[in-house]
Amino acid sequence: MMAEMTLLKAINTALHEQMEKDDSVVVYGEDAGYEGGVFRVTAGLQKAFGEKRVFDTPISEAAILGSAVGMAVAGLRPVPEIQFSGFMFPGYNQIAVHLARMHNRSRGLYKMPITIRMPYGGGVRALEHHSESLETLFAHIPGLKLVIPSTPYDAKGLMAAAIQSDDPVIYMEPKRIYRAFKQEVPEKEYTIPLGKAKVVQKGEDITLVAWGAMMHEARKALKELDEDISVELIDPRTISPIDTDTIMESVKKTGKLLVVHEAVKTLGIGAEIISRANEEAFFRLEAPPVRLTAPDIIVPLPQGEHHHMVDKERIKQEIKKLASFEE
């Protein structure tokens, strides 16, 4: 049986299913309980599972994430919410210093089966600190996994896998496409393995890697592309550890690599993917790999935000440029 749903609803459904299945799963955060979160991602959970397993916290990201470490040590499977990724910094100490390291430093005694949810990204004309793409800050920390879904189907299966994972997972939600479109999603529980990329569309000329809201933008660009350019579209889905094999297999075939991301350029995930292409596919490259990213500036407030965004027009431009590359 299939049900049509948005990405937001898919996450909500996965949370319901995993809480139903495992009593040790707890969901909490600022306004995440009674109200069901400012975006309503956790709507209905408190009603279904009670105030002990689904609850509102004081405004304290350090307490939200530090307590997750303690809960995990004591056998719970916490799924805390950070209201917006831009507000995670007071809790970053707990993420980088404790959560990512506990398994290693206790030599496997204490596992950290924690899934930290946080909406991220721009393009919604939001207030200051509500639009950043901070994935690099998590991918750079050994011991953490990082997931970013781009479709309702992936969102549900990846959330299930994240919650069931015994490693800590940062689950970043592209809020711009929370309700942008619907997709048929199996009603039954399923998981999508962490660390596995998806070839969204087969192609021969260019490998395009994108995730989150940028995947949506890339698909729009490909739909509108008049030129006869065959693009292989890949969504890593798990940003860390990233599935290099799938991407490099494609790059070896096409010889041309374009990475699109919403985050700023310097030390973005694109830099890592291109480094790996240099390491693993150098002699098969037919053009210098290209990053299409936000410039290295602070996300402007809404009136100037378009200067920062990557959109389908820019993606089309880059595809055409790369396709016609000549030495």
Binding site: P58, R125, A126, H130, P295, D296, G304, H306, H307
Partner: protein
């Protein structure tokens, strides 16, 4: 049980005016000159009208998300009236009344919420920090300004605002503790408006009051009727005097109420009752200040009508002017990243411009 000896905390709310503007605490009634009293009132009305008008514009799709201040005007105007020109204002994100009182033009405030960084440039010597969206972090900035004031012996004190929810944040504690240790000239005002988005004050802390947190820092903590502008004036005045004498910081809890939503994206009917809101409307700070001024023959219905008519036009004209201002250019969003533009960023800017020219921009 031995712990019973340590349980209680005395709670008394300081007030001067009752909800009908009657002086109930004659002994403490401040001697504020008439011009200042009228300025306090006018700023409250101006704030209320500008706030309500912005909400209308937001509902029409002309204004972006913002945090309405309705109901909290007295908690902000009282302290600002008690401060000197050189004192610093460190806001959270709902301090429109405080900022207007201290001289920020409404156009700047509208412009910020309209999504333009120029709305945070208040001019040299304004002694006002920009709106602070990340919860609680501003208390540490305030402590730093207070430290500089002490070091430079400038005689300036700092007024910082925070909400009830913000007191749960580690940074609130760290900033207050820091200020306490160094006897810094800081007055931190907690506007307890009873909700942090949907989370009620009762779920924010088990403490009977927020003011009592001061005790842990070894400084005075005052619980004040935040809808009483005179009470807020008197307590802040005393705290500022203490600060400037080098005796250290003070924490003030202003009991008030957010009559509107947390931001325009919030629907408060989900988490609070109409009855509760109606009860607080009876304690509206503007009503009580109006009555107080009327009783002292400083204000009347005619003046009120003229004022509101003038303000209405002024506010609407201000917003229309904001709508007509140009959006930030590509240069502008790049040029303030560093004090001097690095080469690589200059090249990024040029590339972005080229993209935009060849149709890559909307």
């Amino acid at each position: 049980m031995v712990l019973d000896n340590f349980k209680d905390w005395k709670m008394e709310t300081f007030s001067i005016l009752d909800k009908n503007g009657k002086v109930t605490n004659k002994e403490k009634e401040p001697k504020i000159d008439n011009d200042t009293l009228v300025k306090m009132y006018k700023t409250m009305v101006y704030t209320r009208m500008a706030d309500e008008q912005a909400l209308k514009y937001q509902r029409q799709g002309r204004m972006l998300t913002f945090a309405p201040v309705k109901g909290q005007e007295a908690a902000q105007v009282g302290p600002m009236a008690a401060s000197d020109k050189g004192d610093w204002l460190v806001p959270a994100f709902r301090e429109m009344a405080a900022m207007l009182y201290k001289g920020v033009p409404l156009q700047k405030l509208y412009l910020y919420w309209y999504g333009n960084e120029q709305g945070s440039h208040f001019g040299e010597g304004s002694h006002i920090l920009p709106v602070n969206v990340p919860i609680g972090s501003q208390v540490n900035h305030a402590a730093g300004i207070a430290y500089a004031s002490k070091l430079k012996e400038s005689g300036e004190a700092v007024i910082a605002f925070i909400g009830d929810g913000g007191t749960s944040h580690g940074e609130f504690h760290e900033g207050m503790n820091f200020a306490g240790v160094f006897d810094l000239p800081l007055v931190t005002i907690i506007q307890n408006n009873h909700y942090a988005i949907s989370t009620p004050r009762s779920k924010q802390t088990k403490a009977a009051s927020l003011a009592q947190k001061a005790h842990a820092y070894g400084i005075p903590g005052a619980l004040v009727d935040g809808n009483d502008p005179l009470a807020m004036y008197v307590v802040t005045k005393a705290a500022l005097e203490r600060a400037k004498k080098g005796e250290g910081p003070t924490l003030i809890e202003a009991l008030t109420y957010r009559l509107g939503p947390h931001t325009t994206s919030d629907d408060p009917t989900i988490y609070r009752s109409d009855e509760e809101v109606e009860e607080w409307k009876k304690k509206d700070p503007i009503i009580r200040m109006y009555k107080y001024l009327s009783n002292r023959n400083l204000w009347n219905k005619e003046k009120e009508e003229t004022l509101r008519k003038d303000y209405k036009k002024e506010i609407q004209d201000t917003f229309k002017a904001v709508e007509k201002l140009p959006a930030p250019t590509l240069d502008e969003v790049f040029d303030y990243t560093y004090t001097e533009m690095p080469e690589y960023l200059q090249r990024q800017k040029e590339a972005r411009k080229a993209q935009a020219k060849s149709g890559g921009d909307r």
